[in-house]
Symmetry: C2
DNA sequence: CAAAAAAACTGATATTTATCAGTTTTTGAT
DNA sequence: ATCAAAAACTGATAAATATCAGTTTTTTTG
């Protein structure tokens, strides 16, 4: 079932504009001539805030969290990247260091493209540059909405929105009628919603009592998406 | 006195990469051939969330807040734009609607460039496109840091950070040794720091008691920037 | 498959921040 | 300069959320 029209899911989480797809086969071959593949396991760090980038990453499979760590060690998850998404190109373009860190949330495959090849393709292909501008502009909308969610929504609303986003992120590869098991630790969920872990757990059992979801161990299954959207208090 | 090295002020608030400056005189003339100037007064809305953009804006003088309004009518200020900054080009590039609203915080001059002229220049000038990519990437860092401030800092820390940013934003046109009067309503300050207005006022008098600042009516003057940076708990 | 480790969960309490109902001060218009 | 309106400010209270100190369940590993 699609959420279009009910909840603007695309605005909250997806980078639907496929950036690489605008390249011709020839250009693609040029861009990926020095590409390397990496298999990552849960918790593996892909890049760390403050480090100097040497290339960009493409998520091939799995899920990656982008986050910032504060003084007390708490993580705030800023974005969740899935298959097909580009990561880590902003600091390459701006000549800065990484503004956040990225880590695999499960077994994940990523491709690494050296920054020289990326910048080279950008200079060669005006279409690619324009498409990247478009994709970044969209990401901007997503980040702006993230700010408003964190700053203006209550705890229960933030959790409900995080669950709606996660459900979409975990849909990948499943049939439409399948139940979608959201496989995420309570700690990661808390860091997404900006809540203490204990409060996430308490809210989850409230949602369960309301018939919104069920749990199987750590896995969360949304039973009534409309009720969940209502709980998110979306206007 | 510069804050470089003490507090990474640029990361938090400035779009220092001047986008228009890379254009030749000829290109500039082409871009600004249909430009119109507008004089705006305090509170005047420049664009509103959800509206369809028909061009981009350049702030010439004054200060503009970019914000989102929630169900209860509360504003969260996302960014504060000053002289030289481009506004409202993201939705033009992505073909979306405005993700946030913009309003003048004081008497302000803005230029309006029709989107056709902007897109035309982008197609004509690869240097311009690359520069825009660079500027947007930097903005990304700023937004990412905004998220971490809102999500991970305490109320007093958020207020201290807002004041540091505001002090820089109000520096424009003053001599280095001048006191910088931050002229902002308590309501706007609260909406920047993500606090209730009453708590901002209480915190301001705490800061005053600590010798960090003084007030003259609504105007705030930072007396000890090092103490303020300390209060922001920056590492 | 049993033991150990990790994660999920619970209840009580503390802390932070917002809300409400005002009073006082400042600002802007005549 | 005066008055009305708006903004700044104060104190008391309420609500939301975090923290602490555990117990129970689930997952992982030898």
């Amino acid at each position: 079932m699609s959420l279009n029209g009910i909840f603007p899911i695309d605005r909250w989480n997806f980078t639907t504009h496929s950036v690489l797809s605008v390249l011709s086969d020839q250009e693609m071959a040029l861009l990926t001539r020095h590409v390397t593949e990496q298999r990552l396991f849960k918790g593996d760090v892909i890049f760390r805030e403050g480090a100097v980038p040497s290339g960009i990453f493409v998520v091939r499979s799995g899920r990656v969290k982008k986050y910032k760590v504060d003084q007390t060690g708490r993580e705030q998850i800023i974005y969740l990247a899935g298959p097909g998404e580009l990561m880590g190109y902003h600091p390459v373009l701006s000549g800065e260091r990484y503004a956040d860190s990225a880590a695999a949330m499960e077994e994940t495959m990523v491709s690494f493209i050296p920054k020289e090849d990326f910048m080279d393709m950008l200079a060669r292909s005006p279409v690619f540059a324009l498409r990247l501008l478009k994709a970044m502009s969209h990401e901007f909308t997503v980040l702006t909405n993230t700010i408003s969610v964190i700053a203006q929504r209550t705890g229960p609303e933030r959790l409900a929105i995080a669950l709606i986003v996660l459900r979409e992120k975990f849909k990948y590869g499943l049939n439409d009628h399948d139940a979608i098991p959201i496989n995420i630790s309570r700690a990661d969920l808390a860091n997404m919603a900006g809540l203490a872990e204990e409060n996430v757990i308490r809210l989850l059992s409230e949602f369960k009592a309301e018939g919104i979801l069920s749990t199987q161990g750590r896995k969360i299954i949304i039973k009534d998406i409309h009720l969940l959207v209502k709980r998110a208090n979306y206007r």
